[in-house]
C-alpha cells in the first residue's frame, strides 16, 4: 500500500472514506472493501456489463473505472437502488416475466434498463434491444428482458 490514496465517496447515500491502492477497480473496491456483492464481475474487460454501476447519475462499468477515480463521486449500486425502491417497477416486471434465470447479469441489466426508464419516453423493442446490447445474458435469450423493460418504459 506504499502508493495508497485516501478516497471519500458517497455509496448508496452513505459517505465512506477508505485508503485504496491506485490499481484497485471500483467494482473490486465495492465488493471487497464495502461488501456490496450485488454487482458482479463477469469479464473484467468492459464487455459483459455485469458490473454496471451508476456514478454521478451515469451508468459505468465498475471494472473499467478505478476506485480512486470515484473520489468525491456519488455511487449507486443495485442494493441501494433496491432499498430506495427506484428499481421496484423494473424488478416487478422482471420477476413476473421471468426476465432472469441465473441472476448473475441481472443487477447490471437493471441498472442499464433504469437508464432507459429515466429518459422518460417511449421506446420500440428494437431500441430497447439496442440499448441493452452492452449487457450480456447467457440464460434468457433476452426476449423476456425486452418484454419486461418494454412494459415499464411504455406501460
Amino acid at each position: 500500500m506504499e502508493h495508497a490514496l485516501d478516497i471519500t465517496l458517497t455509496v448508496n447515500g452513505t459517505r465512506v472514506r477508505h485508503r485504496v491502492e491506485p490499481r484497485e477497480h471500483l467494482i473490486d473496491f465495492l465488493r471487497e472493501k464495502l461488501g456490496l456483492t450485488g454487482s458482479h464481475v463477469g469479464c473484467e474487460h468492459g464487455v459483459c456489463g455485469a458490473c454496471t454501476l451508476r456514478v454521478d447519475g451515469q451508468i459505468v462499468r465498475g471494472c473499467l473505472m478505478l476506485a480512486v477515480q470515484a473520489n468525491g463521486c456519488r455511487v449507486d449500486t443495485v442494493e441501494g437502488l433496491s432499498d430506495s425502491k427506484e428499481l421496484a417497477r423494473l424488478q416487478k416486471a422482471f420477476h413476473e416475466k421471468n426476465a432472469l434465470q441465473c441472476g448473475f447479469c441481472t443487477p447490471g441489466m437493471l441498472l442499464a434498463a433504469q437508464d432507459l426508464v429515466l429518459k422518460n419516453k417511449k421506446f420500440t423493442r428494437e431500441e430497447i434491444r439496442q440499448h441493452m446490447s452492452g449487457n450480456y445474458c447467457r440464460c434468457t435469450g433476452y426476449q423476456a428482458i425486452v418484454d419486461a423493460i418494454e412494459e415499464v418504459v411504455n406501460g
Binding site: C43, N98, F104, R125, I128, T140, G141
Partner: protein, 795 residues
C-alpha cells in the same frame, strides 16, 4: 384412492392439478433481483486464502524447471506449489466408462507434473492472502520449457504421425461403429444418394459467473466443506472424498447461487481439485475463481466435429438409410468422470433421429489433440446430430425438388408407431413428430412465408426458411453413466416436512442454476400437499441436508426431481390426514387438504387449519392416541428405469435475411414447437426454450474457440469471442404439445436442452435456403460473414 393419488395424466385429473400447468413467477428470483444472492465469490470467510494458477504458455511442452524463489518471497504469499506437491494431497484420475468399450485416457493430475498438454493447463499453484498478491507472485515464477510437437488438427491426430500419450499407443480415445446391416444394399437400391461433410466449430458455455470454488477444511474433524458453483453436489462430494482421502460423510458440498452452468459446471476441473487439496494442505479456507481468460482457456469446450453423412432416398422421397462418419477432437484428456466419449456417442445414437428408415451405419472416432479439453455442454451431441441429419435431409429434398416440409412429413415416424425401436438401438416411449410439424407450419404460416419469400426474391432480398426436426434425450436412467461404473446418481430424492405453522419445507437433490427448479418444486409440493405456494420453502444444493441425487444435467430436473417431490408430497398429505383423522375423530377417507385447511371431502367445509394440526402434532402429541406417532417428515426417491432415456421431440424453424453483399445474416424470427410432456410452468418452459435457442444461434453464427497452428487460443476473451447479444436476437415464438411420459405420475419430460439442440440446424437450413438460388451453400459452423461470402465466391 382419491383423485389426487392418480397419475396427473390419468383421465379426469386435469381439474385437480393445483399449481401444475400455471405460469408462476419463481420465488427465489426476488433475492437475485436485488443483488442479494450468494454466489461463491460473494461469501466471506476469516483466514481465507486465494489461489491462482500458473499455466502453460505452450500447447505441448516438458516442464524442465520451475523456479519459485522470487514468487515465494513476494508480499502476502502463503505457498507456491508444483504438481508433485499437490499430488501428495490429491490422487490422479482416469476418465473412462465401462460401457464405452475401449475408451482410454491417461491419468490426469490436479496440477500437471513434468509435462503440459494444452495451453492453459495449470502447472503451479500460488496461494496468497489476496487474489492480487497471488497474481503478482505468479508473474514472478520462472519456468524453463522444452516444446514438444503439438497435435492440433484432428485429421492429423487420427493419422497418428505424432502420438500425444506414447503409453496409449495411438491418439484414439474412443471409437465406435454401429451398423444395422443392409446399409450398402439400401444405397445400391436408392434412386438418389446425397452426400455432404459438415463442420462444427469448437465452442464453449461462457457462464457469466466463472467457475468458482471455496474449500474450507476443518483439521480437527478431518472434514471438508466446499462451496462450489456446481450442478452436481453429490457427484462432487464422492469425488472430493475419494481423491482427497476424506470420508464421504465428512465432505459437504454446498451449491448456493450458481451464475450459469449449461453443462460447464458438471465436470471435474483440475484447478478446482487443487483448490480443495490446498485447503487440506494449508488447513484454512482457500478460494479459486476462474477469471474470464482462464474460463476461455480451461472451461470445457465442446462440439469440434467433422462429419461425413450420406443419405439414400427413393424418388417418392422415402428415406432408406443414413451412413455417417464422425471425427471429433477432445483435447489431451478425457474429462472426469463423465468422459469425453459421450458427445460423439450421442451423435451415433441420434443421427437420423426423427425418421422411419431402417438401415443405419454410424462410425465415430474420438481423438486426442493438444487443445483445451472438451466434454458435455448443453444438448450434448444433439446439435451435431440434428444439423447433419436436417442438413442432408434438406439437400435430398432439394435434389428431388420436393418441399422440405413435405419431405419431412413423408419420413417422420408416425405418431401411432410407439413404442418404437430406432435403428441406432434407442427406444422411444411416445413421440409426436407429425403433431409437432403441423403445429409448427400453422404457427409460422408456412405457405404464406414461402409466398413472401418468392416476392422478396424478386426485389433482390434473400430470405431463407429453415426447418429442423429432432429427438431429444431427457430424464436419463442409470444407462447413461451408472452402468459404466461412474458414481453419478440417476436417482433423485425429495424430503418434505410439515412445519408446526403449517408451512412445508422441501429439500431436493436436484439443484437450481436459474432454470426454475426450486420454483416448480414449490408448485408441485403445494399442489400435492394441498397448501398455497407461499407456504412452501424449497432448499436445494447442499449434500449436508438434501436427499442423495444426481443434480441438474441432461434435462432431468423436472422429470426426475419433480416426480420425487410429487411422491413425497402425496406421502406427506397422507401423513397429515392420519393426524387429522385422530384429531377430528373422522375417517381419513372423509378428509382432504385444500387451501391450507383440512376439509371434509363431501361438504368441502373447513375442519382444521394446518397450523392448528401442526401445533397439536409437534407440541401436544400427548393429546393423540397412545399407539399413534405422527410422521410429518417424509422422503421419496425416483429413478426412471423402464426406458434408458425418456426421449422427447420437437421441431424448430428459422427465418433469416441474408445480405449477399456483406455476408451478414439477420435473424427475423424463430419458432419452436416442443413436446416436453406434462408442463409444470409454461412461462419457465418457454424461457428454457428461448435461452436454449439463443445458445444454439450462437453456435450457428458467432461462436468458435479459434486456435493457431501452434495450439494458441486466439480469441479467448469476450471482446473477440462473440456471443449473441440482445440487438441481434429475434423474437422466438414457442408452442407446446404435452405427451406425458407414462413412466412417472407427474409425466414431465425435460426441456432445458431442446432449444440448443435444434436451433443450429434450423439456422443453417434457413441460410442455405436463402443461398440456394445463388448456387451457394455453407456447411461449416459458425456461419460468419466471411464464410458466407466465400460460399458466394465474393471473396
Amino acid at each position: 384412492m382419491g383423485k389426487a393419488e392418480l397419475p396427473l395424466h390419468a383421465p379426469g385429473t386435469r381439474t385437480d392439478r393445483g399449481y401444475i400447468g400455471r405460469s408462476m413467477p419463481r420465488p427465489n428470483a426476488a433475492r437475485l433481483l436485488q443483488g442479494r444472492g450468494a454466489y461463491v465469490d460473494d461469501l466471506r470467510f476469516p483466514r481465507l486464502a486465494h489461489v491462482v494458477f500458473y499455466r502453460s504458455p505452450y500447447a505441448h511442452a516438458l516442464i524442465k524447471k520451475l523456479d519459485f524463489k522470487k514468487a515465494t518471497q513476494a508480499k502476502g504469499v502463503i505457498a507456491v506449489l508444483d504438481g508433485r506437491a499437490v499430488a501428495e494431497y490429491c490422487t490422479p484420475w482416469v476418465a473412462v466408462l465401462g460401457h464405452l468399450k475401449g475408451i482410454k485416457s491417461p491419468p490426469q493430475h490436479a496440477v500437471a507434473i513434468d509435462r503440459a498438454c494444452w495451453q492453459g493447463e495449470a502447472v503451479a499453484a500460488v496461494v496468497a492472502e489476496t487474489r492480487a498478491q497471488a497474481e503478482d507472485a505468479a508473474a514472478l515464477i520462472e519456468a524453463e520449457w522444452e516444446e514438444l510437437p503439438a497435435v492440433i488438427d484432428m485429421e492429423v491426430s487420427l493419422k497418428g504421425t505424432s502420438i500425444i500419450h506414447k503409453e496409449l499407443g495411438d491418439n484414439i480415445c474412443f471409437a465406435r461403429t454401429h451398423d444395422t446391416g443392409g446399409v450398402d444394399e439400401a444405397f445400391a437400391q436408392a434412386d438418389l444418394v446425397v452426400e455432404e461433410t459438415y463442420g462444427f466449430g469448437r465452442h464453449t458455455g461462457v457462464c457469466l459467473e466463472g467457475r468458482s470454488i471455496l474449500a474450507d477444511y476443518n483439521a480437527a474433524e478431518h472434514s471438508l466443506t466446499v462451496y462450489h458453483s456446481t450442478q452436481a453436489p453429490h457427484m462432487m462430494q464422492d469425488i472430493f472424498s475419494r481423491h482427497l482421502g476424506i470420508p464421504e460423510a465428512s465432505v459437504r458440498v454446498i451449491a448456493r447461487d450458481v451464475g450459469g452452468s449449461y453443462g460447464i459446471k458438471v465436470h471435474v476441473y483440475p484447478d478446482e481439485m487443487a483448490t480443495a487439496a490446498l485447503s487440506v494442505m494449508l488447513r484454512r479456507p482457500v478460494k479459486f475463481v476462474a477469471d474470464r481468460l482462464e474460463s476461455f482457456a480451461t472451461d470445457i469446450h465442446a462440439r469440434e466435429h467433422r462429419v461425413k453423412v450420406k443419405i439414400a432416398v427413393k424418388k417418392t422421397g422415402e428415406i432408406l438409410a443414413f451412413d455417417m462418419d464422425d471425427l471429433t477432437a477432445i483435447g489431451p484428456y478425457s474429462v472426469y468422470p463423465r468422459t469425453s466419449g459421450i458427445e460423439g456417442n450421442q451423435v451415433v445414437n441420434l443421427t437420423g433421429g426423427p425418421y422411419k428408415h431402417q438401415k443405419y451405419r454410424g462410425k465415430l472416432n474420438v481423438v486426442f489433440t493438444n487443445k483445451n479439453v472438451t466434454c458435455q455442454y448443453r444438448a450434448v451431441g444433439h446439435p451435431i446430430a440434428v444439423a447433419l441429419t436436417e442438413g442432408i435431409v434438406d439437400k435430398a429434398a432439394a435434389a428431388l425438388k420436393m418441399d422440405p416440409a413435405e419431405f419431412r412429413r413423408r419420413n417422420l415416424i408416425p405418431d401411432d408407431a410407439y413404442p418404437y425401436t430406432f435403428p441406432s438401438g434407442v427406444k422411444f416411449e411416445r413421440l409426436s413428430h407429425h403433431q409437432a410439424l403441423d403445429m409448427l407450419l400453422n404457427l409460422m404460416d408456412y405457405k404464406k412465408l414461402r409466398q413472401e419469400q418468392k416476392e422478396k426474391r424478386k426485389q433482390g432480398r434473400h430470405l431463407g426458411i429453415g426447418l429442423a426436426a429432432m429427438i431429444e434425450v431427457t430424464n436419463p436412467s442409470p444407462a447413461f453413466y451408472g452402468v459404466g461404473g461412474a458414481r453419478i446418481s440417476a436417482q433423485d430424492g425429495a424430503t418434505l416436512r410439515l412445519e408446526p405453522t403449517g408451512m412445508v419445507t422441501v429439500l431436493c437433490s436436484v439443484t437450481e442454476q436459474g432454470q426454475g427448479t426450486e420454483g416448480i418444486f414449490a408448485q408441485i409440493a403445494a399442489s400435492a400437499v394441498g397448501v398455497s405456494m407461499d407456504k412452501v420453502k424449497v432448499i436445494t444444493g447442499d449434500t449436508g441436508v438434501t436427499p442423495y441425487g444426481g443434480g441438474t444435467w441432461a434435462s432431468r430436473g423436472a422429470g426426475i426431481g419433480g416426480e420425487a417431490v410429487l411422491q413425497a408430497g402425496r406421502a406427506l398429505r397422507s401423513s397429515i390426514l392420519d393426524v387429522a383423522s385422530h384429531v377430528l375423530g373422522l375417517a381419513k377417507s372423509e378428509l382432504e387438504i385444500k387451501d391450507d385447511q383440512i376439509v371434509h371431502l363431501l361438504t368441502q367445509l373447513p375442519k382444521l387449519a394446518l397450523s392448528e394440526l401442526g401445533r397439536i402434532a409437534y407440541f401436544r402429541p400427548d393429546t393423540l392416541p397412545m399407539n399413534f406417532q405422527s410422521e410429518l417428515t417424509v422422503t421419496r426417491h425416483y429413478t426412471p428405469r423402464e426406458y434408458g432415456f425418456t426421449f422427447t421431440n420437437g421441431i424448430q424453424a428459422s427465418l433469416v435475411d441474408v445480405d449477399v453483399d456483406t455476408g451478414f445474416v439477420k435473424l427475423l424470427k424463430h419458432w419452436c414447437v416442443e413436446d416436453s410432456g406434462t408442463i409444470i410452468n409454461p412461462m419457465l418452459v418457454d424461457e428454457q426454450l428461448r435461452g436454449g435457442v439463443v445458445q444454439g444461434i450462437g453456435a450457428a453464427l458467432y461462436e468458435e474457440c479459434l486456435y493457431s497452428p501452434e495450439g494458441q487460443l486466439l480469441n479467448g476473451n469476450m471482446a473477440d469471442y462473440l456471443v449473441p447479444m440482445s440487438g441481434e436476437m429475434p423474437d422466438i415464438i414457442c408452442a407446446h404439445i404435452e405427451t406425458p411420459t407414462k413412466q412417472s405420475e407427474l409425466g414431465a419430460k425435460g426441456v432445458g436442452e431442446a432449444g440448443t439442440a435444434g436451433a443450429p440446424a434450423a439456422v443453417m437450413n434457413a441460410i442455405n435456403d436463402a443461398l440456394a438460388p445463388l448456387g451457394a451453400q455453407v456447411t461449416a459452423m459458425p456461419f460468419t460473414p466471411e464464410r458466407i461470402l466465400r460460399a458466394l465466391k465474393r471473396v
